[in-house]
């Protein structure tokens, strides 16, 4: 029975990793930009929520609603002013600029908040759990997983049912032709990154409430997010959720065998999938 419990915990943890990965996947899908600062942006979002919670005394969920528009605008400006300049055939500029950004955000947070680990308090919700027969699950992990599913449904609807989604897909396929149809790729890209920052805010909320965080935890979240994206197959959001679940289950099972193997087990699972299915589990034909 303990194994069923371990695997359930892993699946729910996978929801968190899918949330980390969804914003990354969105940005990559539209502009082929790999944002190495993604993990640090999530940590930045967590600090933003923490500030709102401690200054205004709001519940973290409400605080996230205040942080979200700030992150949205930040993402828009970041893409328009900086990242758009790096797009092109050469993969070096976006990689190195976002890598630099990652270092700047990490050390900026370190300077502002010190290296002490922080946590956003959820009150009694933190320890609340529901039981179905012999199995019990925390409410917060369940909420995380539910949010991940909702985010993926929403992003898929946005992509395939709305005008902006059509513009995303057109620009992703061929920016030049799309611009002939009156679409401005630079604005489309800025909007995409801004939306990705909304997803980042949701990821930040759960990052900050489920465990301690400090300015240096970003790169590790980035790696889990990447693993989820690559396992799932590039461009497939449901695949990303599956990828997150695989990493999550591997980590909890690894930790159950030996606590020191938790992270290692996740990485090994990623390498095994890469070995067997180099294009991921659900590759989108291209």
């Amino acid at each position: 029975m303990i194994w069923v419990d371990t695997i359930l915990q892993g699946v729910l943890l996978g929801g968190l990793y899918a949330l980390f990965a969804a914003g990354l996947s969105l940005v990559f899908g539209i502009m082929r930009l790999v944002n190495l600062a993604h993990g640090d942006l999530i940590v930045f979002g967590a600090y933003l929520i923490l500030i709102v919670v401690s200054v205004l005394g709001l519940h973290p969920f409400l605080a996230a609603f205040i942080a979200a528009p700030v992150m949205f605008v930040f993402g828009w400006v970041l893409q328009k002013a900086v990242l758009n300049r790096t797009l092109g055939d050469d993969i070096l500029p976006p990689l190195l600029v976002t890598f630099g950004l990652s270092i700047v955000i990490q050390n900026g947070l370190l300077e502002a908040f010190s290296a002490d680990s922080q946590r956003i308090s959820m009150g009694p919700l933190e320890t609340a759990s529901v039981s179905i027969g012999p199995i019990s699950a925390g409410v917060l992990p369940l909420l995380t997983f539910g949010s991940a599913v909702l985010v993926i449904v929403a992003l898929n609807r946005l992509f395939y049912r709305t005008a902006i989604g059509r513009a995303f897909r057109a620009t992703s396929d061929d920016p030049t032709t799309a611009s002939l149809m009156g679409i401005r790729p630079d604005r489309v890209f800025a909007t995409a990154t801004a939306i990705a920052m909304l997803v980042v805010t949701i990821a930040a909320l759960y990052l900050g409430t489920r465990a301690n965080f400090d300015p240096n935890v970003g790169p590790a979240r980035l790696i889990y997010a990447f693993e989820a994206v690559i396992i799932g197959g590039l461009g497939s959001l449901w695949g990303t959720l599956a990828g997150g679940i695989i990493i999550g289950v591997a980590q909890t099972v690894g930790a159950a065998i030996n606590p020191e193997w938790q992270i290692l087990a996740g990485h090994v699972a990623f390498l095994v999938v890469l070995l067997v299915r180099p294009r991921g589990l659900f590759p989108r034909g291209n």
């Binding site: 790999v34 190495l36 900086v82 300049r85 790096t86 993969i91 070096l92 500029p93 976006p94 990689l95 190195l96 600029v97 890598f99 630099g100 950004l101 990652s102 270092i103 700047v104 990490q106 050390n107 900026g108 370190l110 300077e111 790169p219 980035l222 790696i223 990447f226 693993e227 690559i230 020191e260 992270i263 290692l264 990485h267 090994v268 990623f270 390498l271 890469l274 070995l275 180099p278």
Partner: protein, 353 residues
């Protein structure tokens, strides 16, 4: 019309550069005779970072392989050296060779996995493997597990050549070790630069440049792009491992978090190459000097220093993607290590192209 053409890469500036390079290397070699111990340690740091930067530049600037996981080879090289000294009782100097071999051995599976990923995902793939290496080494209790270990005093005392340097320079054993590792770092840096320069001027180097500029076009004229990538990746890994072994021999103390640090062994190295000028041999040399100056000035400010470094890296990438050396050579046309082949002699009059 019997015209005789010659293909040259040499320029007047490069001949001057060669002579100055020889003079500089001679002075650096003699440095322990007149320099203080602090200066020797600074020079050691500069030379090892330069070696790491040259190898990363070979990977990213010439091979088009942007790796964020070079710390895997620094760390593994260093741990191989410690393993050989602690478990096998080998002389630390001989063990440096095993640092290179261990990195080379790790590079084979790393390349096998990472080459399945394209472009930016390749970068993350190398990072994941570096993390796996760090976490695995932290499980290795014989070399201290997660907390790390030191080189045994007896091994350091009996290290070859140290006794000779002690009496020749009339210094204590610790200073003699610094001089020895400094000389080795100088040899490694000079061999790296000379080797890469030789490679770029040779036929494989031409193939490498062709693959970098246009993979498809290079393939169409018969260049085996896949083999070039393997060659570059393995060479860089081996060199990075040697440098890693040397760095931790000088430190005499190791821990997994330090030896596999992405900031120390990859972020710094990337900034050195980007600021100096990617895709040139001159760039990393200029970059490491700027990096050292910035560090000397700003090191007391801790995280501000890294922020400034990050911002400079971003600005250079946005506004001068060829780096500082790129700006200089664009303005003046000077190339200290020219690799471009020019045709001269015969009926073609001297013409710059």
């Amino acid at each position: 019309m019997a015209a005789t053409y010659t293909v040259t890469t040499r320029t007047p500036a490069s001949s001057m550069a060669m002579i100055s390079a020889l003079v500089i290397v001679a002075i650096l070699f003699a440095a322990p005779y007149f320099a203080s111990r602090g200066l020797i340690q600074d020079l050691f740091f500069i030379l090892t970072m330069l070696t790491l930067a040259q190898f990363w530049n070979l990977l990213a600037g010439y091979g088009g392989l942007v790796s964020v996981g070079q710390q895997a080879f620094v760390g593994l090289g260093a741990y191989a050296l410690y393993g050989m000294v602690i478990l096998m009782g080998l002389d630390p100097i001989i063990s440096i060779l095993f640092a290179g071999i261990a990195a080379l051995v790790l590079a084979v599976p790393t390349a096998f996995f990472a080459f399945r990923l394209q472009g930016a995902y390749f970068a993350i793939g190398t990072w994941v493997i570096a993390e796996v290496a760090r976490l695995s080494v932290a499980q290795w209790q014989a070399v201290g597990g997660g907390t790390g270990t030191s080189l045994p005093r007896s091994a350091l005392r009996e290290m070859m050549l140290v006794g000779w340097i002690e009496s020749a320079f009339d210094v204590r054993a610790s200073a003699a070790r610094d001089i020895l590792t400094y000389w080795l770092a100088l040899v490694l840096a000079v061999a790296t630069i000379a080797g890469i320069y030789w490679l770029l001027r040779s036929k494989p180097g031409l193939a490498l440049a062709a693959v970098r500029d246009n993979t498809e076009a290079a393939r169409s004229v018969g260049v085996d792009a896949g083999r070039m990538k393997w060659f570059v990746f393995l060479t860089s890994a081996c060199g990075t491992g040697l440098a890693g072994g040397l760095i931790y021999l000088q430190k005499a103390r190791i821990s997994p978090d330090a030896a596999f640090s992405v900031t120390d062994w990859t972020a710094y190295v990337i900034f050195i190459v980007v600021i100096g000028g990617i895709g040139t041999i001159e760039g990393p040399i200029l970059g490491v000097l700027i990096f050292f100056l910035l560090q000397s000035v700003l090191a007391d400010y801790g995280s501000w220093y890294l922020m400034v470094l990050g911002l400079i890296g971003i600005s250079v990438m946005l506004f001068a993607p060829r780096g500082l050396w790129g700006l200089i050579s664009e303005r003046t046309g000077i190339q200290l290590f020219p690799v471009r082949r020019r045709l001269s002699g015969g009926t073609i009059k001297k013409r710059e192209g």
